[in-house]
Amino acid sequence: MPQFFLNKRLIVLLISIIVLVALIGFSLRERSKLSWPEQFLKDTAGLVQSLVSKPAHLVAGFFENLQDLQNTYEENKELKSRMEKLVSLEAQVQELKKDNKELRDILGEEETLRDFEPLQATVIGRNPDRWHEMIIINKGKTNGIKKNMAVVTAHGLIGKVKTVNQFSSTVQLLSAMDPKNRISAIVQGETNVFGLVEGYDKEKKALLIKAIPSGVEIKKGQNVITSGLGGVFPQGLPIGKVIDVKPDQYGLNQTALVEPGANFYDLENIIVITRSMAQPNEADMGEGKEEEDL
């Protein structure tokens, strides 16, 4: 036995395993914000990254422009054909907007779940380890970003703010595996169907929308948007399109596979969404801790 304790390397290994478990346990527990040394380090790293990412964006943008030039002609043709439809659509939207406003005035409801304020941000880094799908953006607490805000691109939802530092923040993408990462969603159709975005199928590259009742019929190609019922996200942010539906493990629910509208790669400029309508107080929502559905 004394020989066992004399083996210095074994002791070091054992101690470091204990420290490892303790550190992982410390960082895995529910943290509302990071400790200040972590925030300081992340902000410093963010500063360096934003310096480096600017020339990198420029170079990448140059090559992208070259690629775009190649198929300009075909794109132009397609866009022209779409333009004609757009004019009539615009008139329709205008009319509906006016209608909607009048009706709202009659009802006396001013704020809706749909109202939000956009906040532009630039991606300055991405997690190279690729298990935890996260990006770092150049706006932080000083710009008014808070935890759990929705993050979108022009094509749809890409994720939510995971942690906030003073001058930078971390965004967790929808493609990240995190059981706490749930988003309340609507599958649009003749009747709206509610479900929860829960997880990502890496092999099929599709989001999984679970907890859809088994009686409801869902077709391919239906649009999926956020419902705004979770408390933080506004209503109506596009998520993607249904590509497949399959029954759940026990046949009680269905799971819809949704192809995300936004590309999770090659992100450069993103928009952080601040919902205008206040979030309900946790105390008002009943007793007990509820699951975090966004």
Partner: protein, 172 residues
Amino acid sequence: MKKFLLPLLFLILFLLESIFVQYIPPEVFGKNYILAPHFLFGGILFLTIYAGRKYGIIYGAIFGLLFDIVWIEIIGIYFFLFPLIAYLISKIMHVLQTNIIVAFLVSLVGIALLELGVYEMDFLIHITTLEFKSFITMRFYPSLILNAVFLLIAAYPLKRHFESFVESLRDE
């Protein structure tokens, strides 16, 4: 001046990984392979082989911690694995001759160990539910090939740099 060159080199590798991932297309050669760069760790392994175990473990620990805090937000995974694998590699190098081809192959073994170690840890704490088989075909082999290409390009400059670093230490 020369003292700052080494941390600066690793800092560049640290940032290079992120930039690489940011601009990599989602589909490589028509398949959705996941290419994970380990340029930083490749550099640390070369440091271990050419400048000695002490430097490898110290740099492994510092940059592992930095990596965990800045990218992963779970402290411990790389903080533990970087120095551990650097130590194992230095043990292996006791048996083998130090030449550039051996260093290249041993570094690849180290990167493979890192990939497997991180996969096992992430699987344990439910960060991933990817099956082992899909992990091997989707991520493990493509990443190894990517890092082999990087090491092929960087092996000689890294070797030269670390050797001159060791010499400058001896002169002092």
